[in-house]
Symmetry: D2
Subunit: 346 residues, 4 copies
C-alpha cells in the first residue's frame, strides 16, 4: 500500500475546485481518499460553521465517494496560517523499496456514536483506545512506529457549556491514544485536567459539535508500505519551542533551504496557552483576553513560528492540547517527500 | 555618554512597581530617563486606552521627572507577546573602551504640534525629518550609524476615519526618516501608499490619537558612547523571514543558546499583513477577517516567530509598516549586552 | 395572485429541516418559492460564510426548484436577534376580497452580472433601477404602492478594500431604488456618500461578495393581489426611533398585546451607526471600537429595540443604511396577517 | 439630607473635564461626593482597564476628596450606549417638603477585604448583608423603601478562572442583598446558580478584579430626605421586557414626551443572556458566539431597548444578572427629577 498526500488551497470554504481539477486530470482517484485534514477560516470555536460548510462542499463534489473519508477540520487561520486541506489517499503500491526502508502508513477507524453522558468519561476513552488499535492494525503499524494519532472527538452540542464538553472530549481522546500506544499505563478520571503530566506526545485531538462518534487517523512509518512519503513528530515543550521544529526537520533530513523545504507535504501542530499565565517566566495575556479567544491567540503564535521555519503558512495548527504533549506545550508532526534519494531513504 | 535599558514587566497597565523598585534601590536614576518603549495589553487600535493608562501611571510615579521622557507604547500583546516596557536612560559614561569600539547611542526629539490638515502631508514629513536630524545630532550619530528610528506620529482623533489618519501619519514618519537617513532621495505625496518600493528599512513608526506632535527616538552604535550595549537591525522581507531574525542575532554574535540569548535586552519588530492577500504564494485571511483586526493578526504571527527564536515573549512588535521595510515585510532590531568580552566588543 | 410568508428557525446554517417538514406536509409548494430572506449567525462581514452555507443547504433541499428563488441573507444575530429565514412564495389567489382591499404583492428581478469596474457607478444604479421597475411590473405595483425594495447588490471580492466595494454597491442600490420609486429625481456620482440627504426611505440594500449580479425584491400592497397579508414601512430617524416602530404597528392596526403581536409575520429593519459619532447628542463608540465592527454594534442595538417592541427576536436587521432612510437612521417594515377581520381589511 | 445626581460625558476614560468644570463653577461640592456610577468603553470583561483608568483619573482630579467615594464602573458601551458617569453627592437639605413626600436617599458602605477563599461563599454573603444593612441605616431607609442596591463585589484575580470567580462574587452579592431586604429568607450555598428562582429583584451586582472588598450603595425614597429626585425600579422578566421599562416610567409619572424624558437623571439596567439559549421561544446565539462575549451581546440589546424608550444612550447597563431579577431577566431602575410639580410630588 502507498499513501498520497495532496495539499490544496481554497478561496473560501465552498471552493473545492483544486480537488475537482486533480480528479478530473486523473491525478487523484476519489475512491482512494481516506481522510481530509484541513484548516478553515472560521474562529475555530463552537459557532464556527466553516468546517461543516467545507465538509458539505467536499461531499457534494465526491458524490458516492463522499461518505467514506474522515473529514478533520480545524477552524482558525490566524496570522500567516493559510486555509488549506490535505487529502490523504491510498493506492496499491508495489515498487521496490530498499531493505528496511519505511514509508508513510495510514489507518482510519470510527467508533460508535456516543451518548451525551459518555463524553469525557472512561467509556469514551475505551472506545477511542479500541479505534486507535483498529486503525493501527489497518495501517500495520506497531505502537512504536506510530508518529501521530489524529482524533476528532464527538461532543454534546446541548451541553450547558459546549466549550467544556469539547475540552473533555479532547482529554478522553488523548487518554485513549496514550493507552493504545502504551504511553499511559493506567489512569483514573480524576487525572482529567488534574494530572497534566500524564500525556501522549503523539496525540492530536480536536472535537466538534458536528459529530457524536469519534474518528481516528493513525500515521506512522512502516516497511509494509511504499511510496516517497515519510513522517516524523516531536513533542513541543512550550509555544516557543523552535528547537522541536528544527529537530523534526532534522529527523527528516530536511535542511532549511528553499529547495529542501519544498519536500514538506504537511505540517501538523498542536499547542495550548500555558495555564500558568506565563511562558518561560513572562506573563502572557491569552487567557484573560475578552476580545480574542485563547485558542485563536495560541494558533496565531504557533502558526507564526512554524510557518516562519517552513516558509509556508499551510500549517494544520490546532489549540486545545490538554494531555497532548507537555503542559503548556504540544507537538509537531511533519510529512515530507523523500523521493528516491538514497541518503534520505536510509 | 552611556545608554541603559531596563526591560520591566507589569501585572496590568497601572502596575509600575518594577520601575519603582529599581528607582528605590538606586539602580536607575529617574532624572536620566529619556524614553520608555512598551507593549500594553489593549487591542492596539483607536480605542486602546492601555497606552494612555500606562503613561499616566508612569508620570504619577516619576513626578517631576515624568514630563521629559518619550512614551512610545504599542498596544496588543497577541499570542505569546508579553506586556512589558523598556526604560531607556542615559548617564555620563567614562570607562575606557577599546579603540574603535562602538556602543548604543540614543537621541530624542519632538516636533511642534501638527495642525489636523498637516497629517500625512509633506509638512509632517519635513517636521519629522528635521526632528530625526536633531536627534541624530544629540546622539552624535551619522546617518549610516543609525540602526533604528522609532517615531510616534501625531494623528487627528476627529478625522472621519481615524484609522486612515493614523496610517497617513505613519507614512509621513517613514518618509521623514528615509529622507533624514538618506535612504529616500526625493518623493511626491502620490508615493504615499502608491509606491511601496520607496521605504526606509530603519524606520519604525506608530501613531496614536493621544498626541498631536511627533516624537522621535534615534538608536545606533557610536564610538562617542560607552557602555556594554549594542544594537543591530535588519529589514524583514515578509512575515516568515526567520532568516532576518537569525542574521540580526548573528550580527550581534549571539548564538541561540540559553546563555547567549540572555544578552538580548530589547527586541523591536515591525511588520504588516501582505496587501496582496498572500504570503509566499499562499492565501492569508488577515485582511478579510471581520472579527480580529489585521494588525492583531500580524502582531501575533510576528511575535510568535521572534519570541520562538529568542525564547522570550517580551517583543515590541507593531503593525502598520507602510513604507517601513519592504512591502509585506518590515524590520527587526535587537539590542544586546556585549559586556567586556573582547570577542564581542570587536 | 397571493403571497405567502413562512418564517422558520434553524439550529445552524445547515439546518433546513423546518422547510423540509413544511414541504413534506404539503403546506408549502416549493415551485412557488420566489425569495428567501434570512438572518444567519455569522459576523455579517466579508468573511461571513454562513450566508453561503445556508444558501447551499437550501438549494440541496429544493433540488430543481432551488435555482429560482432569490436568497437574501444578512449575517449577524447580535444580542436577541434570532437566526431565521422567511420563505416568500406565491400561488394563484382567487378568493373574494372587499372592494378596494389590498394585499401583500411581491415581484422579483435580477440584473446581469456587473463588471468589477461598474460597482458603485451610474451603470450599476441604472441596472438596479431597471430591475426595480421590472419587479414592480411583475408585482403590478405603482411606485406609491411600494413599501419596501430589498436589494442584494453585487460586489467585487478582489477589490483592494472589499468593505468599501460593498458600501458602494449598497449606495448604487439605494439610488437605483430611489430613481425607480420617484424619490430621487436626479443625481451625480459625487452624491454617493457626499450628499446623505438624498435617500430612499423604502430601500433596504445589502451587498455580498458571493454574487456579481444584483437581485431585487419589491414588496407592497395591491388590490390586484389577495390573501391575508399586508405590509407597512416607515423611515427611522435614528437608532432610538421607537416612535417609528410603534407607528408602523399602528399603520397595520396592531396593538402591543400578545395576541395582536402574533399577527406579525416578518420584520425588516435597516440602520447605521450615526457618522457624527453621536446619537441624539451623546457620544457612541460604534465607529471607534477595534474589537466589534460597527455593523455588529448597530444590529444589536436595533434588534434589541424592535424585538422588545414585538416580543420576538426574529428580526431581519441589517446595517449599512447609506442613502437608505435619513442619515444615522434607516427604516422599518412589518408584514402582518390581517386575516378576515373587516376592521383590519378596510 | 439631599441627594444630587450629575450625569457627565467623557471623550475617553481619562477625560474628567466635565466634572472639573462643575467643581470649578461651584455647582458641585467635591467633599459631598459619595459615589460615582459609570459606563466606560472597554469590553467589560477581565482585561477591561478603562474602569481603572477612569478611577485613577477621577482620583487625580478629586485629590484629597478622591478616596471617599465608591467608584462603580461597568465596562462596555455596546451599540447606542454612551460612555458617561453619574456623580452622586449629598448635601444638607432643609427645604420644606409636602407632608409624606419622599425624596431620593442614598447610603454607602464597604466590607473588609475578602480572603480569596471567601469569594462566592456564605462568608461573603454575610459580609454584604451587613454592609447593606449599614448602608440602609445611613440612608435611613426601611427595607421596603429600597429601590436598588448596587454592589461591587471583590474577586480573586489569581483564580484559575477569573470569570467564574467574578460570577460567584455577583451571586454572593445578590444573596446578601436579598437577605438584607427580606426577599430571601434562607439559603444554602448549593442554591448558587442551582436555584435561579431565588433572587432579589432590587439587587444589581457587578464584580471586578480591581478590588478585594465589597462596596455597597443603597438607593430608595425616604421622607427623611429632601430634594427634587426620586427613584423607581422594576424587575424585567426577560431581555424583551419593554413593558417593565414603560411601567417604571409610569411609576415616576413620566410620559414618553421629549420634555418629560428630560427629567430622567439616571438609568440602571441589569440583564443576562437567557441560559436556555432561547428568548421567548426563539433561539439566540449569545452564549455560543466565540467572537463577541455574551455579556457584550446582552448589554447591546438591553441598551438598544432602554435607550430607544428614553431617547438617550446614557444607560448604566450591566450583564451578569445571576439571582438578580428573574432567570433570563434582570431589572431596571430610573432616577428622575420631580421638581416642585405637586402632581409629581404626591
Amino acid at each position: 500500500m502507498r499513501t498520497h498526500v495532496h495539499r490544496l488551497g481554497m478561496r473560501d470554504p465552498s471552493d473545492v475546485s483544486e480537488l475537482a481539477a486533480l480528479i478530473r486530470a486523473g491525478a487523484l482517484d476519489p475512491a482512494g481518499i481516506v481522510a481530509v485534514l484541513g484548516k478553515t477560516e472560521g474562529n475555530g470555536l463552537v459557532n464556527d460553521y466553516t468546517r461543516g460548510y467545507l465538509t458539505q462542499s467536499l461531499k457534494l463534489l465526491l458524490g458516492k465517494h463522499g461518505d467514506k473519508p474522515l473529514y478533520i477540520f480545524s477552524g482558525g487561520t490566524e496570522g500567516v496560517v493559510s486555509p488549506h486541506y490535505a487529502v490523504f489517499s491510498v493506492s496499491a503500491g508495489n515498487e521496490k523499496r530498499p531493505q528496511g526502508a519505511k514509508s508513510l502508513a495510514i489507518g482510519c477507524a470510527v467508533t460508535r456514536e456516543l451518548k451525551p453522558e459518555e463524553i469525557g468519561t472512561r467509556a469514551q476513552v475505551n472506545l477511542i483506545r479500541a479505534a486507535v488499535e483498529k486503525a493501527m492494525q489497518e495501517a500495520r503499524l506497531a505502537p512504536d512506529e506510530v508518529s501521530l494519532v489524529q482524533v476528532k472527538g464527538g461532543c454534546d452540542p446541548a451541553a450547558k457549556d459546549p466549550n467544556r464538553s469539547m475540552a473533555f472530549s479532547r482529554v478522553a481522546g488523548a487518554f485513549g491514544v496514550g493507552l493504545a500506544l502504551g504511553e499511559i499505563a493506567d489512569f483514573s478520571e480524576s487525572d482529567f485536567f488534574g494530572n497534566l503530566n500524564v500525556y501522549s506526545p503523539r496525540a492530536s485531538v480536536s472535537s466538534g459539535i458536528e459529530i457524536m462518534m469519534n474518528e481516528v487517523m493513525v500515521l506512522g512509518n512502516s516497511a509494509a508500505w511504499s511510496g516517497p512519503l515519510r513522517i516524523a513528530s516531536r513533542p513541543m515543550r512550550d509555544a516557543l519551542d523552535l528547537d522541536a521544529v528544527l529537530a523534526t526537520l532534522a529527523d527528516l533530513k530536511i535542511r532549511r533551504t528553499e529547495k529542501d523545504l519544498k519536500r514538506v507535504r504537511a505540517a501538523i501542530v498542536k499547542g495550548e496557552p500555558d495555564a500558568s499565565g506565563k511562558v518561560r517566566g513572562h506573563r502572557h495575556t491569552m487567557l484573560t483576553d475578552g476580545d480574542i479567544n485563547a485558542q485563536r491567540h495560541i494558533r496565531g503564535a504557533l502558526g507564526g513560528l512554524v510557518a516562519g521555519v517552513l516558509g509556508d503558512g499551510r500549517i494544520f495548527v490546532s489549540g486545545g492540547a490538554e494531555h497532548q504533549g507537555p503542559p503548556g506545550g504540544g507537538l509537531i508532526a511533519l510529512i515530507c517527500e523523500i523521493g528516491s534519494d538514497p541518503d534520505l531513504i536510509s
